[in-house]
Symmetry: C2
């Protein structure tokens, strides 16, 4: 989107191809998963964003490959010619080669993912309420989040708040406050990309919310009964995946060298080796800078988008393309209400101050997403009341307990209607 | 919900069983389908509504029958005993015995239905934008709504506005204003339950919005190519169903006489013949009053809910149950912005006045749905800007044109990326 907008005044025709009709503000996806926000509050139709950019058109279509020789993008049901191509198809979640874990541990990359995660979370409490057998009930009331990057930490914090506050008075047979929220991380500390001091702060804040933090913990198995960490098995029906990522398979069709995670090793000017008409940006690009990889975060992707557009402009006017330089403006994570950690150009903050930074930055970047005001309203209300607006399970249920437990017939205390 | 709340102060245990976790304000469902509102703005978790009513508990479960002899409600995965039962499982859409029409003409009874209808509406424009063949493009840009009751009329009005205003500048190859919206009704006039004068007013207002109104029109076939009315075939991929209803199949398990539509013929006190412990209310109940049927509308259902609760109270204190009397407070329908028709105890209104009545009544009844303020905000914004907040198609697309057209390969104008 940044690249498209940067080309608005140029004498070029821009075609945006996406298999979804909306542009998503991914950093707030966990708030859709935990029922704080509605999908439309963090996503906007691409068509609407670009309605006034008359040199741009939008195609809803599924790209299956790039034919560099013919300079065509190949869709399931058509193709689009290009003179210059910017590929920004990002990453999806990966289960470290254990694809069999996927059905038991949903990840969080799209709105569908978020709604599925929401369904799973709130159905778990419904199942627990109806489950008479203590061991089974505990399995419903145990939540394991794999991966303690920003997404994992934010999910764990939001889940702890839901169990401690939001659902507090809603059930008659269970006490949601008894739910366990366990955050599992393979590295020696949470938020491993941040400074150790902030990791320690984040851990303390999570523990204060009641989250059990398990670092240096390797997941060895995930199935319908739970998750294994080394030799220990945690019985749970609620495993949420916030760990590995894998590059979009479109990278392969470029036929250039990829890194271990399948990302494209781009030139410093963001083109690919041997083809200066193709740019790869965002999470799909692998680029070293000052001996460190450019991180797969939204600000880096946005900067790259603008840079790729500038390089196309330079190339069109016969000038030399310029190398990309990432400007790290800081890292932020929120941990429940009024707490969080922030590293802003070396300035390390935690607690309420970090949370306020997070709030400001995220409201600022929702500019363009027209729901900034509604989101602020929802956050204010949610802060004051602990209420979550979007606790809907859209589908009807059939056999609630049957789904993952399988063999147990539901028993429940007698009651009169 | 009205019955449950009316029993709040009584020495009884109330169990609410529902296969969805939310209570839905159905009159605004068409606004979810046409992307004006988010699901959570017209639905609230049943559990949250009843969190402070300590004599009530909520079970998320799918009821498959009633065993009156054993006084049990039978669930897919369990059962619930009762002393008194209130059955209010309503109606679903019916295709007049043509179940083969269902996949081509989605109806509008649940949030899932509304999201599916929304997806269908907005994908149609995406497909039209990519379709080079004029005849096929026209089929994507023709919308046929079957049934001109309040839902059909409101859907047609909202759709006309979307095509004329909301999407106006969003496309490059099609002009959404060229879309046809056709409202088909078997009876001789739209809104057949209202007075003829108001039907005429409603028709004129629809036509002013650009809706083609076809009355006395019998649908004889619906398939993937379109809809047949008598001998005429309208080519369209967008048929929306707002016509017949059929009673919930649970009525059958009561083993009492049903009417033609499968609804339970209840006693004047809302109990069923031969069993004074079972009440049937809402759309599922069939009851004559002063020679006219009590209509299947929300106010009648709410009045019956309160009445059934009162009759249970009377029965518990050994008194005689009382017959139900429906108080008709009026009928309203809105037709796009600032127009509509209303019949309030004989007072017939149309145009902006009727629309303001509609607005007031609907905002009033969203009390209890905590999003009244957000809804007002959205309506105000939408009124001023013609914008629709919730134009998201959540799923990614694969083969856009392939879905209903099937055999056509997508062709589109060339463009440069």
């Amino acid at each position: 989107m940044e690249a498209v907008k940067a080309l608005a005044e140029d004498p070029v025709d821009v075609t945006v191809v996406d298999r979804r009709n909306h542009h998503l503000f991914q950093p707030l996806l966990y708030q859709v998963a935990t029922a704080s926000l509605n999908p439309s509050e963090i996503a906007a139709p691409i068509r609407r964003i670009l309605r006034r950019q008359h040199n741009a058109e939008v195609i809803l279509g599924n790209v299956v490959g790039v034919d560099r020789r013919a300079r065509k993008v190949v869709l399931v049901d058509g193709e689009v010619d290009y003179d210059h191509l910017i590929l920004a198809t990002g990453v999806t979640h990966s289960y470290f080669g254990h694809e069999e874990w996927a059905p038991h541990a949903p990840g969080l990359k799209t709105i569908s993912d978020a709604l599925e995660m929401r369904r799973k979370i709130f159905l778990a409490f419904e199942a627990a309420e109806r489950e008479a057998h203590e061991e089974h009930r505990n399995a419903w009331m145990t939540f394991v989040i794999v991966g303690a990057g920003p997404t994992g930490v934010e999910l764990a914090g939001a889940l702890a708040e839901i169990t401690r506050h939001t659902l507090r008075s809603d059930f008659r047979h269970i006490d949601p406050r008894a739910a366990r929220v366990i955050l599992v991380e393979g590295a020696p500390r949470v938020l491993p990309a941040m400074k150790p001091r902030l990791s320690a702060k984040a851990k303390a804040q999570l523990q204060r919310l009641g989250v059990q933090v398990r670092v240096d913990a390797q997941v060895t198995c995930i199935d319908e009964t739970g998750v294994s960490i080394g030799d220990e098995h945690i019985f749970t029906h609620n495993v949420l995946w916030a760990a590995g990522v894998a590059a979009s398979p479109l990278a392969k069709s470029l036929d250039v060298p990829l890194d271990k995670a399948g990302r494209v090793l781009v030139n410093p000017d963001l083109t690919i080796p041997g083809d200066d008409r193709v740019y790869v940006i965002g999470d799909l690009a692998s680029l070293q800078q000052n001996g460190k990889p450019v991180p797969g975060v939204a600000p880096a992707a946005m900067q790259q988008g603008r840079h790729a557009a500038e390089n196309i402009e330079l190339a069109l006017s016969g000038k030399e393309r310029e190398p990309f330089h990432y400007l790290d403006k800081g890292t932020l994570a929120t941990i429940g209400r009024a707490s969080g950690v922030a590293d802003i150009r070396g300035l390390q903050l935690s607690g309420a101050v970090a949370w306020l930074c997070w709030l400001g930055v995220h409201i600022w970047f929702l500019i363009g997403f027209r729901n900034r005001f509604v989101v602020m309203l929802e956050w204010a209300r949610s802060y004051l009341t602990y209420e979550k607006q979007a606790r809907l399970i859209i589908e009807e249920v059939n056999d609630l307990m049957g789904e993952p437990v399988g063999d147990e017939q539901a028993e429940r205390p007698e009651s009169a209607a």
